[in-house]
């Protein structure tokens, strides 16, 4: 045992464990370091861990249970803590080296690049690594796999932060197992991880790893005795496969991750340049939309609504247009969903109500109504009531002349607050119309839940009025309207025939190109004064006789 004899005199603490982690030998320096009298012949955990806190004890236990190499710093708070470097277990033997202060001395910046919770790299390591890659003369085959846990927040909320931390640690361990030695593992923050795959055959290696990652992450975790089931989404970007610059790697992986999440999670997506183009376009339009109100790029146009009985104008619907200076006019179908998503709809919607009230207050005929579309999002809080009442008060428009058009979407949540807001408007004297009836969730019970003043029959029924099915539907809607005492209006009436048919079937009013296209606000006064219902009526009557 010449080797052992020499160990006796070393300053460095050394211990040798057998396959059951029982200490076979420890040199005097090791015993001193751990302040132990006898070390050999006892299980490492029980003899070393007696003075340790539960966390350190658990870490030590975990390191010893694993056959892989690892390190544990025993008393981190101490000024000069002892660190045990536990070698990998080979042929039933493993070496443990104990020393003081190594992590600080052997720094070379590494400690600062490690995430303390999981022991893998942090953002700084990512940046250092990227910098090294940039120095390579040949473009390296690098893939970035960004991983995000799908239900991490729930675990944190229901089982507590300690369980969340444990999940992150176990995730890092799974990443270690699935990756190769020269892959770089990073915790970007929160529940977001990154694997940088270098020197692998791409794109196959990245596809393979992403596939395996999503599969393995959906497998159960045992955390504090609970079976925890989560999943992970992965976004992949590869240099030379859609990504040209190293600097774009992370951004592209994030876009792909975003897409994977959007597609329903627990899957991976690989970045493709179209994805970036779409994201950019969306970003641009979002940027423009946020400024559009301030730059006065919105206008309202007005389309008349006419009685089928005498053809006279009963009012106008105010329709929003976005005159984007670069892209030209943009239809509401395109920008309203985006405005709803980014919350811009509140400001835009308020402007629409206010402008329409002021405009209508100036019309010569004080019986004409003005209809305004209000998004379900605007009904999410009480502001809508203040907005309407201020618009009426400031413009001087009689409440009875304002009609708020809502879609079935407003009632979809069946929230009592939303219904109460509708009632508040109703009590002010404002009428509420049900827009696009029959296209959405079309629950007849919605009609019963609130006294709507008007049902608007969607243009899709009107324009296919030759099909017997839509004929039947229109008749049914009209019958419901009559029995509930609600007036009905058909929109999208484009031809003389449609007008005649809608009139014959008993619908109260119409709106559509056949009567007039929407017109700028400044043309309304002139249109009202010149309007003659005669030709419309004459044609419809001829049609009926024929």
């Amino acid at each position: 045992m010449t080797k052992t004899l020499r160990w006796e005199n070393l300053d460095t603490g050394l211990a040798l464990l057998d396959e059951r982690n029982v200490v076979v030998y420890a040199n005097p320096a090791f015993a001193t370091l751990l302040a132990l009298e006898t070390v050999s012949g006892r299980p490492a955990i029980t003899s070393w861990a007696c003075d340790l806190g539960p966390d350190t004890r658990q870490t030590l236990e975990r390191r010893l249970c694993s056959n892989e190499a690892g390190a544990v710093t025993l008393n981190e708070q101490a000024p000069n803590p002892v660190t045990l470097y536990i070698g990998a277990s080979r042929d039933g033997q493993r070496l443990v080296v104990g020393a003081r202060g190594w992590p600080v001395a052997d720094d070379c910046g590494l400690a600062a690049q490690l995430d303390p919770l999981t022991g893998i790299g942090n953002r700084l390591m990512y940046e250092r690594h990227l910098a090294t890659l940039c120095e390579h003369a040949v473009r390296p085959a690098v893939a970035a796999l960004m991983i995000d846990l799908d239900r991490f927040k729930q675990v944190n909320d229901t089982l507590g932060h300690a369980a969340g931390d444990e999940l992150l640690r176990l995730t890092a361990d799974r990443l270690r197992k699935l990756t190769r030695e020269d892959d770089v593992l990073i915790r970007l923050g929160g529940d977001e991880f990154l694997v940088l795959q270098t020197d692998a055959r791409q794109p196959d290696a990245a596809h393979g790893l992403a596939q395996r990652l999503t599969e393995v992450m959906s497998r159960l975790f045992l955390i504090e005795g609970n079976s925890v089931e989560i999943s992970a989404s992965v976004g992949v970007a590869m240099l030379g496969h859609g990504t040209a610059a190293l600097d774009d790697l992370l951004k592209h992986a994030a876009l792909a991750l975003y897409q994977a999440k959007g597609l329903g999670r627990a899957r991976y997506c690989v970045f493709d340049p179209d994805l970036e183009a779409r994201a950019l376009a969306r970003h641009q339009i979002e940027f423009d939309l946020r400024r559009a109100l301030g730059l006065r790029e919105f206008v309202l146009v007005y389309q008349p609504q006419n009685s089928t009985r005498d053809g006279r104008i009963s009012g106008f619907e105010a329709l929003l247009r976005w005159m984007q200076p670069v892209r030209g006019p943009i239809s509401p179908a395109e920008f309203i969903p985006l405005a709803e998503e980014i919350g811009e709809i509140h400001a835009i919607g308020a402007w629409v109500i206010r402008s329409a009230c002021f405009e209508a207050a100036g019309w010569a005929d004080p019986t004409l109504t003005v209809a305004v579309n209000v998004s379900p999002v605007q009904f999410e809080n009480d502001n809508i009531i203040q907005i309407v009442s201020a618009a009426l008060k400031d413009s001087g428009l009689a409440a009875s002349r304002l009609e708020i058009e809502v879609t079935e979407g407003v009632l979809l949540t069946e929230s009592p607050e939303v219904l109460e807001r509708l009632w508040s408007l109703n009590r002010m004297g404002v009428s509420i119309a049900m827009d696009d009836f029959g296209t959405g969730y079309a629950s007849l019970s919605y009609l019963n839940s609130f006294p709507f003043s008007k049902i608007k029959i969607d243009k899709s029924f009107v324009q296919s009025e030759h099909s017997s099915r839509s004929q039947a539907l229109i008749s049914a809607i009209l019958a419901i309207g009559t029995s509930l005492g609600v007036t009905t209006i058909a929109e999208g009436v484009e031809t003389p025939d449609q007008f005649a048919a809608i009139r014959a079937i008993g619908c109260h009013s119409v709106q559509g190109y056949y009567i007039s296209r929407p017109m700028p606000a400044e043309d309304v006064a002139d249109y009202i004064s010149r309007f003659d219902p005669e030709p419309f009526l004459r044609h419809a009557e001829q049609e009926q006789i024929a």
Binding site: E19, R20, N21, P43, I45, T46, C50, Q58, E61, R62, L64, C65, S66, N67, S89, G92, L170, D173, R174, K177, L178, V216, R219, L220, F221, L222, G225, S227
Partner: protein
């Protein structure tokens, strides 16, 4: 000072393919490495295999069970792992086995109902029942 002892029972679906011989060899290798690793980690237990599924009991200190399960969990040779029981115990049920094995042939009758239930709904399986069945089987084979 003795550490708290825990017991975990799980069930999983077999993902091994190939003929009987290949499967047998694969199980052999699972057992061999289980015995090596478990002995070092102070884990004991029993593994059951009946062609369609695995059931396993692991006993040992909390940390050791967690680390071992993490390893087993990520093994592509099975899937759909469901933990049926995880609790503190006062004594080991398989103290002398770093990983005892009960194959399909060992006691077909006794496992028949487990296999039948599990084929439809693994969550209907009872950890305690599996544990008892495994123990009873080993007692029988010890007598034989």
């Amino acid at each position: 000072m003795t550490e708290s002892l825990y017991r975990l029972v799980y069930f999983s679906r077999n993902a091994l393919a190939g003929d009987a011989e290949a499967v047998r060899a694969e199980i052999e290798s699972i057992l061999e490495c289980s015995r090596r690793n478990n002995a070092a980690a102070n884990v004991t237990g029993a593994l059951m295999f009946n062609g369609g599924c695995f059931a396993q009991v692991l006993e040992g200190p909390y940390g050791a069970i967690q680390v071992t399960l993490e390893r087993i969990q990520c093994d592509a040779r099975h899937s759909g792992l469901k933990v049926l029981a995880f609790d503190r115990r006062s004594a080991r049920g398989f103290a002398h086995w770093s990983m005892a094995y009960v194959g399909a042939a060992a006691n077909v009758d006794r496992f028949a109902h487990i296999a039948k239930t599990s084929a439809f709904d693994p969550s209907a399986l009872d950890g305690e029942a599996i544990y008892d069945t495994l123990k009873a089987n080993l007692a029988d084979s010890a007598l034989a």
